[in-house]
C-alpha cells in the first residue's frame, strides 16, 4: 500500500537523521536539504538511494537536482511510488 505524505516525511526524517545526523524533528516539509538541513550534494545522493529502497521508487539523477526541499522529495515519492 502506498505511503501517506505523513509516513513519507517521517521516513525521510529517519533517513536524513541516519545519514547526516540531523534531528528528526528538524526535517519539515518546507526545509531545504542544502540550506536548512546542511545535507550536501553527496549526502543527498545517499538520502535518495535510501529513499528509493524504503519507498520502492526510482529517482533518476536528473530528477535529484529538482528535489530542493523535503516537501519536493515527499511529493515526488508520493507521485512515483508503486
Amino acid at each position: 500500500m502506498a505511503a501517506t505524505q505523513e509516513e513519507i516525511v517521517a521516513g525521510l526524517a529517519e533517513i536524513v537523521n541516519e545519514i547526516a545526523g540531523i534531528p528528526v524533528e528538524d526535517v519539515q516539509l518546507d526545509k531545504s536539504f542544502t540550506d536548512d538541513l546542511d545535507v550536501d550534494s553527496l549526502s543527498m545522493v545517499e538520502v535518495v538511494v535510501a529513499a528509493e529502497e524504503r519507498f520502492d521508487v526510482k529517482i533518476p539523477d536528473d530528477d535529484v537536482k529538482e528535489l530542493k526541499t523535503v516537501g519536493d522529495a515527499a511529493d515526488y515519492i508520493a507521485k512515483h511510488q508503486s
Partner: protein, 334 residues
C-alpha cells in the same frame, strides 16, 4: 590441422612486489584556494583531501614510472632482465606514439620485454593485473611489470571548483609472477558506455587542429552526483561479486584498497559493503588526492610500508572511473 604445442605457464600468479613514486612537491588545499572560491573545510568535507603531490617538469610519466618500477622489482626480489612484459596504464601521457611502456622498459634495463599502454582510466591497474595474470598462466611471460601512472595536474581545470582539488600525480607499480597456489582471484570487470559522459575530457586534442585554440586546455570534468551514486552503490555490488568469486567471506578479508577517488566514496562503500571493523581500509586519498590508475598500487605500497597491512594479507582491490569502467579482484599482498 597441425597440432600446436600447449602453453607452459605457471599454475597461478601472484603480486610479488610493489613500489610507488610520489612527486616531491606537496600541494596543500591553500594553493588550490588561490584559483577557486572555496575553503579548506569545504574541500575536506566533500573529498577528505588535505593535500596532493604535483609533478615538476622533470617528473615525467616515464621518470615517475621508472622510479616506481625499480622499487617494485627490488621488492619482488627479481632483476630487470626477468621482466618479460611491461603494461602501463595512464590517461595523462600526451604522446600516443610510441607507447610510453617501451621507454619505461628500456629505462629500467629490462632487455626486450613486450611493452604496451592501456587506457582504462581509474580501473587501469586492475585491467593491467588481469592481463598480467593471464600472460603468466598462459606462459607468455614469466614476470610482468604493471604500472599505473598519472600526471593529472596536467588535466586539471584549476578554476573548476568541483574538480580543482581532486587530482594528484604519481606512479605505482607491481611485479606479477608465478605462484604455486591461487593468490589472485577472478577479476570482476566491465564497462558502462552509456555513462561515458559522466567523466570525460572536456575537449579532444583535435580541437586544437580543427578549430584553433580552445579557450582552456582540455581537462577532466565529471558529474559529481551521478558518479558518486554509481561508485558507491553499483561498485559495492561489484566488490561483493569479486569477494564471492574468490570465495572470500567478510571474516577472511584483511585489507580493502578501493580506488582513491574521494574519501566520501570510500566511507560510503565501506558502509554499503558492511565490512567488519577488522578490515584495514586504504585512505591514501587524504594526502595523495585522486591519482587515477596509480591510486591502488600507491595505496598498497603505503599500507605495507607503514605496517598497516602485511605481506600475506588478503586484500580486495577495486578500481572504477572514466568509461565508465571497473575492475575488482581479491589478491594476496606481497
Amino acid at each position: 590441422m597441425s597440432k600446436i604445442s600447449p602453453s607452459k605457464g605457471a599454475p597461478y600468479a601472484r603480486i610479488m612486489g610493489v613500489g610507488g613514486y610520489r612527486p616531491t612537491r606537496v600541494v596543500p588545499n591553500e594553493v588550490i584556494l588561490e584559483t577557486i572560491d572555496s575553503s579548506d573545510e569545504w574541500i575536506r568535507s566533500r573529498s577528505g583531501i588535505a593535500s596532493r603531490h604535483w609533478a615538476s617538469p622533470e617528473e615525467t610519466v616515464a621518470a615517475m614510472s621508472i622510479e616506481a618500477a625499480g622499487k617494485a622489482i627490488a621488492d619482488a626480489g627479481v632483476t630487470p632482465e626477468q621482466i618479460d612484459a611491461v603494461i602501463v596504464s595512464t590517461v595523462s601521457h600526451f604522446k600516443q606514439t610510441p607507447a610510453i611502456a617501451t621507454e619505461i622498459a628500456h629505462g629500467i634495463g629490462a632487455g626486450k620485454p613486450a611493452a604496451f599502454d592501456i587506457s582504462a582510466g581509474c580501473a587501469g591497474f586492475g585491467y593491467g593485473l588481469t592481463l598480467a595474470k593471464g600472460m603468466i598462466v598462459d606462459g607468455s611471460a614469466g614476470h610482468v611489470l604493471v604500472i599505473g601512472v598519472e600526471r593529472l595536474s596536467d588535466l586539471t581545470d584549476l578554476t573548476d571548483r568541483a574538480t580543482a582539488f581532486l587530482f594528484g600525480d604519481g606512479a605505482g607499480a607491481v611485479v606479477v609472477g608465478p605462484a604455486k597456489e591461487p593468490m589472485m582471484g577472478p577479476t570482476v570487470w566491465g564497462s558502462e558506455g552509456d555513462k561515458a559522459q559522466t567523466i570525460r575530457q572536456t575537449e579532444p586534442w583535435t580541437a586544437y587542429r580543427d578549430g584553433g585554440r580552445p579557450e582552456k586546455f582540455p581537462a577532466i570534468a565529471q558529474e559529481g552526483q551521478s558518479v558518486f551514486r554509481w561508485a558507491v552503490f553499483e561498485m559495492a555490488k561489484v566488490a561483493q561479486q569479486a569477494l564471492d568469486a574468490a570465495g572470500i567471506g567478510p571474516a577472511d578479508l584483511d585489507v580493502f584498497i578501493p580506488h582513491q577517488a574521494n574519501m566520501r566514496i570510500i566511507d560510503s562503500m565501506v558502509k554499503t559493503l558492511k565490512l567488519p571493523e577488522s578490515v584495514t581500509v586504504a585512505r591514501d586519498v587524504e594526502t595523495t588526492g585522486n591519482t587515477s590508475a596509480a591510486s591502488i598500487p600507491l595505496a598498497m605500497e603505503r599500507l605495507l610500508a607503514t605496517g598497516k597491512a602485511k605481506s600475506g594479507d588478503t586484500a580486495l582491490v577495486i578500481g572504477f572511473g572514466a568509461g565508465l569502467v571497473y575492475a575488482a579482484t581479491v589478491v594476496t599482498l606481497p
